[in-house]
């Protein structure tokens, strides 16, 4: 009795906890529900690079991530798929042309010597830029955590995210203005990325630091010698701009004041580690992809369409749930009603689990959840059928219920394990959408084991303590010779 009360309290606590989680932690919606574009990119081999290594993939991923970030869309993601594919997700982008920019032309690289007497202003502008960038980060963070939940988007309440988006845009404009102001502190010198033949990272001869080597063609070499001679030893720097954005501002040592840096090759040294050095090298190569990349799959869903899907699925889920609830109550009477309570607890716990584990809910995922509502009562059906059999066999009510649970358990276990095997196969071998379905179904099966067995058992045994429920006909209609004692 005491144990039952404890379990009852636990179930109640879990249900309340689930409600709190569902209403506070936003559900992550897949691109097919919130609208957006998903690209699958395949990295191709070249004559020079016949096999794609993990480093190659990392390099490509970094370049693509940089470009994706430049789009200014929040919650983007770039993931590696298998050996040679990348999955790029761009929420809210329903124009493939915009998405394609990710793979578009290389950025414009420019070398400019700093104008005299601009040091102070350079520092001030830099500070302003950093401040804006911090602001942007904070806003994007807010946009991420405040992303619309399933219910919000269903009711069309999107006023606040819209405001946030506007703020983000205005900060982005401020950053651009700031970038231009910095650029204007550097004089144009007609030395662009076209003159650059190579840029690569290498470890320095001593210490753990890395450096970046740049090489120019002959015309570029002359120009670079000229620029470097002019500013050597002055404390001014050479600004390296990528699409008007300053990526590096090395200064030139006084020893080159006579001739400048000649020979068409220079080394940028600084506080680089392997990663930041190779990042800079990639940027200097014009952000060019180290390997050719092909788009093998694009999927775009407009936001209106996504919301329509959500509304329809919610509707289907509700109707499905209600139908199952009615069926159980009508067919199984009192235990059916208790199983209904367990089923509602099941739905709450499963949704909360999606939120906690950060499951991204896709359309097939929702289908998996709706399907699992029907399957979740399977264990109850097994148990109640068994209970009825025992009652018809002349056992007392309490013992019938007990042995119903006990005897049905091996069937319940076997049937759920086989479903989980199918889920596991789907999860390991399936692609994106399919994985979502497998995961939601598997979570559902696992939780249903708890709710349909522990939860409904506790409720049932608890109700047997109440004399008004201790009637066999509430369990098994048409039981002619009801046992007298219970």
């Amino acid at each position: 009795m005491g144990r039952q009360r404890l379990l009852l309290a636990l179930i109640l606590g879990l249900a309340i906890g689930a409600i709190v989680i569902i209403s506070t932690v936003p559900l992550r919606l897949g691109l097919d529900l919130r609208g957006g574009t998903q690209l699958t990119l395949q990295v191709e081999t070249t004559d020079k690079v016949p096999t794609i290594t993990e480093q190659d993939m990392d390099a490509v991923q970094r370049v693509i991530s940089d470009r994706v970030n430049e789009l200014g869309v929040s919650e983007t993601s770039v993931q590696q798929l298998g050996q040679n594919q990348l999955l790029v997700q761009l929420p809210g982008v329903s124009d493939p042309e915009q998405a394609q920019r990710v793979l578009g032309e290389t950025a414009q690289l420019e070398f400019r010597p700093q104008s005299p007497n601009t040091d102070q202003q350079f520092q001030i502008e830099n500070q302003i830029l950093q401040q804006h960038q911090l602001e942007l980060l904070a806003l994007q963070e807010a946009a991420n955590t405040g992303s619309q939940t399933l219910l919000e988007s269903a009711t069309g309440d999107d006023a606040t995210p819209g405001d946030l988006q506007q703020q983000i845009e205005s900060v982005q404009q401020a950053i651009q203005a700031s970038n231009r102001a910095i650029r204007d502190l550097f004089a144009p010198a007609d030395l662009t990325g076209q003159a650059l033949t190579d840029a690569y990272a290498r470890p320095r001869q001593s210490g753990n630091l890395w450096e970046v080597v740049i090489q120019f063609d002959s015309a570029g070499a002359n120009k670079f010698a000229e620029i470097s001679r002019d500013i050597a030893g002055t404390g001014r720097s050479i600004g390296i701009f990528l699409d008007d954005r300053l990526v590096s501002a090395p200064s030139v040592d006084v020893q080159y004041a006579e001739t400048g840096i000649t020979g068409g090759s220079a080394v940028i040294s600084g506080n680089f580690n392997a990663e930041s050095a190779s990042d800079l090298a990639i940027q200097l190569r014009g952000g060019a992809l180290p390997l050719p990349v092909e788009v093998v799959e694009t999927r775009t869903v407009g936001p209106t369409l996504g919301q329509d899907s959500i509304r329809r699925s919610l509707y289907a889920a509700m109707v499905g749930l209600v139908l199952v609830l009615i069926f159980m109550a009508v067919y199984y009477r009192l235990p059916g009603i208790l199983a209904d309570v367990a089923l509602v607890v099941y739905a709450l716990l499963t949704l909360a689990a999606f939120n906690i584990f950060g499951v991204t809910l896709t359309l097939p995922g929702i289908a998996g959840f709706i399907l699992s509502i029907g399957m979740a009562v399977d264990a109850n059906v097994l148990i109640f059928e068994r209970t009825r059999e025992e009652l018809r066999g002349g056992k007392t009510l309490y013992r019938s219920v007990e042995s119903g649970f006990y005897r049905a358990f091996s069937s319940i276990l076997d049937s759920n394990v086989t479903t989980l095997i199918a889920c596991a196969a789907l999860f390991w071998f399936g692609a994106g959408l399919v994985k979502g379905f497998a995961l939601t179904l598997a979570i559902g099966v696992a939780i249903s084991l708890f709710t349909a067995v522990t939860c409904s058992r506790t409720l049932l045994l608890f109700s047997l303590n109440l004399p008004q429920f201790r009637k066999p006909e509430l369990f098994c209609p048409g039981l002619s010779t009801a046992p007298s004692k219970s």
Partner: protein, 321 residues
């Protein structure tokens, strides 16, 4: 209700045989017409599918979109072979399926559509573009998942039961998968319904669910064998099936109810997914009750294990008491 399934075995096997025959015929016709047993969707053969909807606050939505307009527009772009389907409420949407278009071609097509039948609603556009290569990849991984799950189920059931239970459960599974494929082969032939990667998901779910049904019945038969080792397998199978009959039917019902809700209220994407599951689950419950059980009885009699508790188990059993 009491089923006498062992005695009625020829009848139940005949029904399954006919349905499977019809499925195979559907797949063979489909193979001849389309080069594949089922009508393959974008996911498997590659191509581009663009669906656009008119923005009715600006466009003239008095009449449905004229597919003739769209066809001549596509011909201008050298896409005569495209498949056009006017959909949506009151025919205000159109879905166009073409060869694989690159992004520039997609944009050209969209703006041409916008001028010809628009203005279009930019919020409800849907574009799927799949390269042929990735299509094969999706298909291969789906098939692999199916085979692995079969193997996993055989291993698990051999551990929990015995090998013959496991193999016969797989026979019942193949039955369900074949029937579902047959239904979609015919849907593909008659209504041009295509199968996509969700169909493979549906098949795998059917595998999981249908074996579930079979396991419950086998579990009960095994329990009966342990309780009454002296009885003949035919009798034990009959009572096992009947004891679990209302469970089998009720579980299938509770699972079908939400699926029917999806068919009625869900969007286009999920509709045929739910339909595949419904077909598979009905085939599944049928095969569990009538095929898997009778197969087990038939097999045990054939291999001389009709009665477990016989004093001399080595003695072959031909006649049953």
């Amino acid at each position: 209700m009491k089923l006498d399934i062992i005695r009625q075995r020829p009848f139940w096997w005949l029904i399954s045989g006919l349905v499977i025959l019809a499925s195979l015929i559907g797949m063979i016709i489909s193979w001849q017409q389309l080069g594949a047993p089922l009508r393959p969707g974008l996911d498997f053969v590659g191509g581009t599918r663009i669906q656009v909807t008119r923005n009715c606050s600006q466009a003239d939505c008095a009449s449905p979109i004229d597919s003739g307009d769209v066809r001549s527009l596509l011909a201008d772009q050298g896409l005569e072979t495209a498949v056009i389907q006017v959909t949506g409420s009151e025919g205000q949407s159109v879905a166009i399926r073409t060869r694989n278009l690159d992004v520039d071609e997609q944009s050209t097509l969209r703006s041409a559509l916008d001028t010809a039948i628009g203005p279009l609603d930019s919020g409800s556009v849907q574009i799927d573009s799949v390269g042929a290569l990735i299509g094969q990849q999706l298909f291969a991984s789906g098939l692999l998942a199916l085979l692995v799950s079969f193997a996993g189920i055989v291993i698990y059931l051999s551990l929990r039961f015995q090998l013959d239970y496991a193999l016969l459960a797989i026979v019942a599974l193949l039955h369900d998968v074949l029937v579902t494929m047959g239904v979609f082969a015919w849907l593909g032939l008659l209504l041009k319904v295509e199968v996509d990667s969700l169909f493979i998901v549906a098949l795998l779910t059917i595998v999981g669910f249908s074996v579930n049904d079979t396991v419950v019945i086998y579990d009960r038969i095994r329990e009966n064998i342990n309780l009454y080792p002296e009885r003949h397998i035919d009798e034990l199978v009959d009572s096992g099936v009947n004891q679990t009959l209302s469970r089998s039917i009720n579980t299938t019902l509770t699972t079908l109810l939400p699926l029917i809700a999806i068919v009625l209220f869900g969007g286009d994407t999920l509709k045929f997914f739910a339909l595949a599951l419904i077909a598979g689950f009905i085939a599944g419950v049928y095969s569990s009750i009538f095929i898997a059980s009778t197969l087990l009885a038939w097999w045990r009699v054939r291999t001389g294990k009709a009665i477990v508790g016989l004093p001399e188990p080595s003695q072959p059993v031909e006649e049953t008491p």
